[in-house]
């Protein structure tokens, strides 16, 4: 009956702090320019906040969903915008099916499939509330969506455009779904109220494990460690105190200023496909010690880990305020940066 335990890394969202607002809105410093020498900024970026971006696992195509109601496909190698779809409302998440199609999660409650070549799109179905996240499982051949209607739905993409055929199942969650992550058949669902459920896609009748975050703040993002051996690492937004910082002592996205600590939400993280190390991005605009103009909304490594796409886009952590324009940077990753250091292994012990 012994099952490998899931090591959690917890972090959470700090309450908005008006006192530090000005410091976060400080103009971009010179380090931006130097950092950008190792990468490039994509042209024709979305006109509003970037909700997610993902590299294809077969090519250097980059799929980007945005609050400007679009979903865009870029060819990073050529720095061109290859396709663009406009929704009725903001797009909260997107993912690839294969290089020719992808899925999107809309604030208009819909789950859609896009055929990039033809510009055609189908509706897989609807939730009862905005759809927060979408994932495609290559193992199960299913699309999994999580919504603020407190449910998880699995869809068969072949049944697109007639939702009764596409929907495989609806699974009630204890709270609004905030983040999903997949590895193999294992699915991790993080919801409001700090719940974390772990499912096996082959048996969705009930969670394999039910857990609760031990941290006091909201869970922003959860990601599985991609070695597929059933070991899962979880990433939450780290706002932890010193003791926890010791326990989960990786990027904390925090700043000590005038004797008080400002701890930023960590919005995104991405695992390196080869080394298993990961990058995190937070509202302080840093990705693993490199400064970007504004908050990091999303991160993605390309298939060989040589490129890292960084969505530098304000994530609304302080409400509607003036902010830097949304931008996508693609950074050339130096191998030294991502190779595991002997002391700080990202994965759990076997």
């Amino acid at each position: 009956m012994s099952r490998p335990s899931l090591p959690f890394r917890f972090s959470s969202v700090p309450p908005p702090d008006p006192q530090t607002a000005s410091s976060r809105l400080a103009p971009v410093d010179m380090s931006t320019a130097t950092m950008l020498s190792g990468g490039r900024e994509l042209s024709q970026p979305p006109s509003d906040g970037i909700s997610n971006l993902r590299f294809s696992s077969h090519s250097d195509l980059l799929l980007v969903s945005s609050w400007d109601r679009t979903i865009r496909l870029y060819d990073v190698g050529e720095n061109t915008l290859k396709a663009e779809f406009v929704h009725a409302g903001p797009v909260l998440d997107c993912c690839f099916h294969d290089d020719s199609s992808g899925f999107s999660a809309g604030a208009d409650h819909s789950v859609r499939r896009h055929i990039f070549g033809s510009g055609k799109e189908d509706i897989l179905g609807h939730h009862d509330a905005p759809v927060r996240c979408v994932e495609y499982s290559y193992a199960a051949g299913q699309v999994i969506t999580g919504s603020w209607d407190k449910t998880l739905k699995c869809w068969d993409p072949r049944g697109a455009n007639s939702s009764d055929r596409a929907l495989i199942g609806t699974y009630v969650q204890p709270e609004r779904v905030y983040s999903l992550s997949l590895v193999g058949y294992r699915l991790v669902v993080a919801t409001a109220g700090r719940h974390v459920n772990v499912y096996d896609l082959r048996n969705m009748s009930q969670p394999e494990q039910r857990r609760e975050s031990s941290l006091k703040y909201q869970t922003r993002c959860v990601r599985c460690y991609p070695n597929g051996t059933g070991r899962v690492a979880m990433e939450f937004f780290d706002l932890s105190e010193a003791a926890q910082a010791k326990k989960y002592a990786f990027k904390c996205h925090r700043k000590s200023e005038a004797g008080r600590d400002t701890v930023y939400p960590v919005n995104a993280m991405a695992f390196h496909p080869i080394y298993g190390t990961f990058a995190t991005g937070g509202c302080d605009g840093y990705v693993n010690y490199s400064k970007y103009p504004t908050s990091i909304a999303a991160l993605s490594f390309n298939r060989d880990g040589r490129l890292l796409a960084v969505a530098s886009s304000y994530t609304f952590e302080e409400g509607e305020i003036p902010h830097e324009p949304d931008a996508i940077f693609v950074r050339n990753v130096n191998e030294v940066e991502v190779k595991p250091k002997p002391k700080a292994l990202p994965g759990p012990p076997p």
Partner: protein, 708 residues
């Protein structure tokens, strides 16, 4: 000279003779009668006699003068001598030879007199000087007792003796003065020390007593009144000091008690160390400056140290007031606040002590008489019926008693623990022995075997343990003449019960053994008659093994079964799982699952049959919230949707829509979760004041919708 005068006399006689001769010639010439002549001569003779007589009188008078002068001088001399206490100069006896004439005598006495007069003058000056000093000192010492008459020099006695006497007197006065000065200095230093301890202005106090005391240059007033006043001031300050000291010591002891009560950390105590160290000091030992000053005592009330210091201030103010005349109202309010604080703290303390008492009792398996717990005490304290300290003391006593009792019970309790543990193992052994597959090699079987081995050894020891325990308890009870209770039950009766149960079990076991033997015989007989048959005690099929073991291991394993079944056989029979699910569903899942389920099932059950999760839902209990009739809800939702003018895509004419919409309604009713896009409800829900947690994206969407 005599010769000269003789000559003069001769000349005079010659002149007289010649004059007489001249007269006779004249008379002859004139022809005076002899009678005339005789008359004239008589006249002449008479005149001469007169002159002589006058001269003699004069001489006589002169002699009398001389004699008088001599006598006067002698008398004066004698007076002076006597006044100066010297032997009189006996001029007449010594130098009064008959050959001496009066003038010589006078001449001899005059220088003596002069001499004596001079000496007398000198003596007088000495006397007056001494007298002056005496007068000065006397004035200093007895400001009001100055009698001028006593300080006029008495000339009748100017003797050395008298002078010496006066000098002695002066000396004594000087000594007294210096004594007094010394005394004053002593007093001043004492006063200074007191003032510094009490933090009072020394200069001001001495200036009040006598202004000269403060002046370093001027001579200090040494009169008795000053000394008296100094002494009074010292007495007064000393009284204050003693009073304050006692307060402080009362205080410090209270503080120590409170520290003790509240387990105040050393760091906090350190702050009051200078107060606490004076707790055993006598009045003379407290000499450090400002130790008892009002300022210091206020200092004691350091704000960071919480209640203790506040209490201190409270006590301080109580008696500093009359001295310092602080604003009484403020102080009163402060004291009131402190008292309240104290009551709260006391309540906490009492509760803590109660807990400690209960914990002690629990550990010793003693039933501490509840006596209605701390609530009664606290309400009594609040109403002022009981003094909190008294309650604390009582609890302290109780704790001490319980501790003592716990100590006496320790030995027995340890044995009881051992016994109970052994009993547990015995119970396990029984379970284990009942499991007929216990020798099957399986996962962890070796561990179970090992445990069984140990348990068997332990179980064999039980009778011994019980015997010793009974002996110990009996002895204990005899010593104390009370029953030994364990969590309120008499231990001896527990042991007796145990012994009876054990005996019964023993008998049962024996009976079973006999029966088995009998059965064995029967089988043997049957075998002999009909050939061999499967033994009834043969282990059941492999599938049943698990369930049997589960039974033996109790409920814990049974709880895990559904999960393990899923893990091992994802495709095992669905019906079994379903029932299991119902048993293990979390209450939350139950509550959430039910939303709109009957509707779903009615509308498209065929489409769902492939999905097990949905299929099992109809088994879930139907909550009252779900009992909305199907049709009304449908129409309601349709209305709502029409009103909101939701795009047609969202109203896609699938059979599912009504069902989900019903679910939406349910959400609205129960939790304020966002329901549908571009709906006012959403804005209302996401921006609200309630404490529901929202992510940045939810807030952003609310803003997005609101902006449009």
């Amino acid at each position: 000279m005599a010769r000269v005068s003789t000559d003069q006399l001769l000349q005079l006689e010659t002149t007289c003779g010649s004059l007489l001769y001249e007269l006779q010639i004249i008379w002859d010439e004139v022809g005076e009668t002899d009678t005339e002549r005789d008359k004239m001569l008589l006249e002449l003779e008479q005149e001469c006699l007169e002159v002589y007589r006058r001269k003699v009188d004069q001489a006589n008078r002169c002699r009398a003068h001389l004699r008088q002068a001599i006598a006067d001088s002698e008398a004066e001399l004698a007076t002076i001598c006597s006044s100066m206490g010297e032997p009189p100069v006996h001029t007449r006896q010594v130098g009064h030879c008959p050959c001496w004439r009066l003038k010589e005598e006078l001449n001899s006495i005059t220088p003596q007199l002069e001499e004596m007069r001079k000496r007398k003058g000198e003596r007088l000056i000495q006397f007056s000087e001494v007298k002056q000093q005496i007068r000065n000192i006397s004035v200093e010492i007895m400001a009001t007792e100055y009698h001028p008459s006593r300080h006029v020099v008495d000339e009748s006695d100017l003797s050395i003796r008298k002078l010496e006497e006066l000098c002695r007197y002066l000396e004594s006065l000087q000594k007294e003065k210096s004594d007094r000065l010394k005394q004053i200095m002593d007093h001043l230093s004492t006063l200074n020390a007191l003032c510094s301890v009490l933090g009072v202005d020394f200069k001001e106090i001495i200036r009040e007593i006598h202004p000269s005391l403060d002046d370093a240059e001027a001579s200090k007033s040494v009169c008795s009144a000053t000394i008296e006043r100094l002494a009074t001031a010292i007495g007064r300050l000393r009284d204050i000091k003693i009073e304050r000291m006692q307060k402080l010591q009362d205080f410090a002891s209270t503080m120590l008690e409170l520290w003790n009560l509240m387990d105040t950390p050393i760091e906090e105590q350190q702050f009051f160390q200078n107060v606490a160290c004076n707790i055993a000091a006598s009045e003379e030992e407290i000499t450090e400056a400002n130790t008892l000053s009002v300022n210091f005592l206020s200092c004691v009330s350091h704000p960071t140290s919480g209640l203790l210091c506040l209490l201190l201030v409270g006590h301080m103010f109580g008696w500093i007031l009359p001295i310092e005349e602080l604003c009484y109202m403020q102080v009163e309010a402060e004291v009131l606040r402190l008292e309240q604080l104290k009551v709260i703290k006391m309540k906490e303390l009492i509760l803590r002590k109660k807990e400690e008492l209960e914990e002690l009792g629990r550990r010793a398996h003693l039933v501490v008489e509840a006596e209605n717990g701390a609530e009664v005490a606290i309400s009594a304290i609040e109403s002022g019926a009981i003094d909190a300290c008294l309650v604390l003391e009582q609890i302290g006593c109780q704790i001490a008693t319980v501790k003592e009792e716990a100590f006496s019970r320790k030995d027995i309790l340890e044995r009881v623990e051992k016994w109970l543990m052994a009993c547990e193992e015995e119970a396990w052994m029984e379970e284990y022995n009942r499991d007929e597959n216990r020798y099957n090699a399986g996962r962890g079987a070796h561990l179970t075997l090992k445990r069984a081995e140990k348990a068997r050894a332990l179980v064999n020891k039980i009778p011994g343990i019980v015997d010793t325990l009974v002996a110990k308890i009996t002895q204990w009870e005899k010593e104390r003449a009370i029953g030994f209770t364990y969590d309120g039950v008499r231990l001896l009766s527990m042991l007796e019960k145990y012994a009876i149960v054990r005996q019964e079990k023993e008998q049962e076991r024996k009976r079973q053994r006999d029966q088995k033997k009998l059965q064995g015989q029967l089988i043997a007989e049957q075998e002999a008659l009909y050939g061999s048959k499967p033994s009834p005690s043969k282990p059941p099929s492999a599938k049943k093994v698990g369930s049997n073991r589960r039974l033996s291991l109790g409920g814990a394993a049974a709880l895990q079964t559904p999960k393990s079944d899923y893990m091992h056989s994802a495709k095992s029979t669905r019906s079994v799982k379903m029932t299991d699910d119902l048993g293990t569903l979390s209450p939350g899942a139950k509550g959430l699952d039910i939303t709109g389920l009957p509707v779903k099932k009615l509308s498209y059950n065929n489409a769902m049959t492939t999905y097990q999760g949905v299929q099992r839902k109809p088994f879930a209990p139907v909550a009252p919230v779900n009992s909305i009739p199907l049709t009304p809800s449908k129409s309601l939702i349709a209305n709502a949707l029409e009103e909101n003018k939701i795009p047609n895509a969202m109203l896609s004419p699938t059979p599912k829509t009504p069902a989900t919409a019903a679910a939406v309604l349910m959400h609205v009713a129960t939790t304020p979760a966002p329901t549908c896009l571009f709906n006012e409800a959403l804005v209302k829900v996401v921006s609200p004041v309630d404490e529901t947690e929202y992510s940045f994206e939810e807030r952003r969407l609310a803003f997005y919708v609101g902006g449009r």
